[in-house]
């Protein structure tokens, strides 16, 4: 996906995932978990961290094994590796925070089919040495977490008048219940994308002038 992955320094690669190629806002990947679990900032952070963990572990392992995986069955191999780490995360979350586990439900296991992870494995980890793959995965993971957090906090503030469960506006605030319901997820993400598209356009116009 990136234009010159070989020349770019590690720092640049890290920043690329966080900002230039942000998986949620720029590439619009991994939408399903992004919308489904972001009813509160806490859930969003949990989901983001879980995905980041899976992303880093599986990209590093895939990159280490890249010379041994036959091309014909590479996708199946990636999926099995990813599924292994997701099972791990599933059990870890269940052990550490049962509340989070119940809030996220089947969506933890659905990390397997998150397009970001398979996309990174295919586009970057399969062609680069382990350290570079790890840095790239870390950047993407942070970018994804930031994206989820931006969605989750806006939805929680508007939909419940709270952030991390702390009430922000006092008793007079009428929550926009629609924001924590499914349509709100689409609207908030749509508005964020619109904002980023506008930023990109403005920058383009400045460069042109």
């Amino acid at each position: 996906m990136s234009s010159q992955p070989l020349q770019a320094s590690n720092m640049e690669q890290l920043l690329e995932g966080i900002w230039k190629q942000n998986p949620v806002f720029v590439m619009a990947l991994g939408m399903c978990p992004a919308l489904a679990v972001t009813v509160s900032a806490f859930n969003a952070l949990g989901m983001g961290l879980a995905t980041t963990f899976v992303l880093i572990c599986s990209c590093t392992l895939i990159s280490m094994l890249r010379r041994f995986i036959p091309r014909e069955v590479r996708i199946a191999t990636y999926i099995v590796i990813i599924a292994t780490f997701v099972t791990l995360v599933d059990y870890i979350i269940q052990a550490v925070s049962l509340a989070l586990y119940e809030a996220l439900g089947a969506f933890i296991q659905l990390i397997v089919v998150n397009c970001i992870i398979l996309g990174r494995a295919e586009a970057h980890a399969a062609k680069n040495p382990p350290f570079s793959a790890m840095v790239n995965a870390l950047g993407m993971g942070i970018g994804f977490t930031i994206g989820l957090f931006a969605l989750g906090s806006v939805r929680e503030i508007l939909g419940a008048g709270k952030l991390f469960g702390i009430s922000l506006f006092g008793d007079q605030f009428q929550p926009w219940v629609v924001m924590v319901l499914p349509p709100g997820g689409f609207f908030v993400l749509g508005l964020w994308l619109l904002f980023f598209a506008w930023l990109a356009k403005r920058k383009e116009a400045q460069h042109g002038a």
Binding site: Y91, A106, P182, L189, G190
Partner: protein, 195 residues
């Protein structure tokens, strides 16, 4: 009583908790393929078929894994089953309709990573559905997915003709549309639950 419950599962999964618009499953193909009506329809049918196969296989697999006390392998086993089902659909489609095969392109193998398909398998396990209920659930899921895809494609085809600010083009607009559709589907909320 039994039949009523199956019907309820079906109706609820199609309308009030539609896979795409209420549970956010399968958004990637929903946003990717819904540009044109003539690709949306076959995509919906292919996905529904994979869902049904995946649901039946994963039901059998779950029985097997539970019997041998190997639940931790569930996720890996499900994914393998789904990948094979997709391969099957791909081969059938390539044989009988090469034009369609080319039109769907990359989105056909991507059914493997469609969360709606894995979602069917995982949710039916989580909710302890028996065989008949699983079938009703997966059929409902497939019909619901196709319905959402076709509705969206219809709206987007009309929108291509309208004059919009250029910032709005692309995913942002699709998401807004999906939000409006989702609002409309919330209106089905009471159906099938009452009684």
């Amino acid at each position: 009583m039994e039949h009523e419950t199956l019907g309820q599962i079906f109706i609820i999964t199609v309308l009030s908790s539609n896979f795409v618009l209420a549970m956010f499953l399968g958004l990637c193909p929903f946003l990717g393929v819904s540009g044109k009506l003539e690709t949306a329809v076959p995509m919906g049918i292919a996905t529904s078929f994979v869902m049904l196969v995946a649901s039946l296989c994963s039901y059998a697999l779950n029985q097997l894994l539970t019997h041998f006390d190997l639940e931790f392998l569930r996720l890996i086993a499900y994914i393998a089953v789904i990948a094979s089902a997709v391969q099957l659909v791909e081969m059938v489609m390539k044989k009988f309709s090469p034009a369609l095969f080319r039109a769907l392109g990359i989105f056909l193998p991507l059914i493997t990573t469609n969360c709606a398909v894995l979602g069917v398998a995982l949710f039916q396990t989580a909710r302890d559905y028996d065989l008949a209920q699983s079938v009703a659930f997966s059929l409902g899921g497939g019909v619901g997915f196709s319905l959402a895809l076709i509705l969206m494609a219809g709206v987007r085809e009309r929108l291509n003709l309208s004059n919009l600010p250029s910032v709005m083009h692309g995913t942002a607009l699709s998401l807004m549309l999906a939000g409006l559709l989702s609002l409309a589907f919330m209106g089905f909320g009471g159906i099938g639950v009452a009684r």
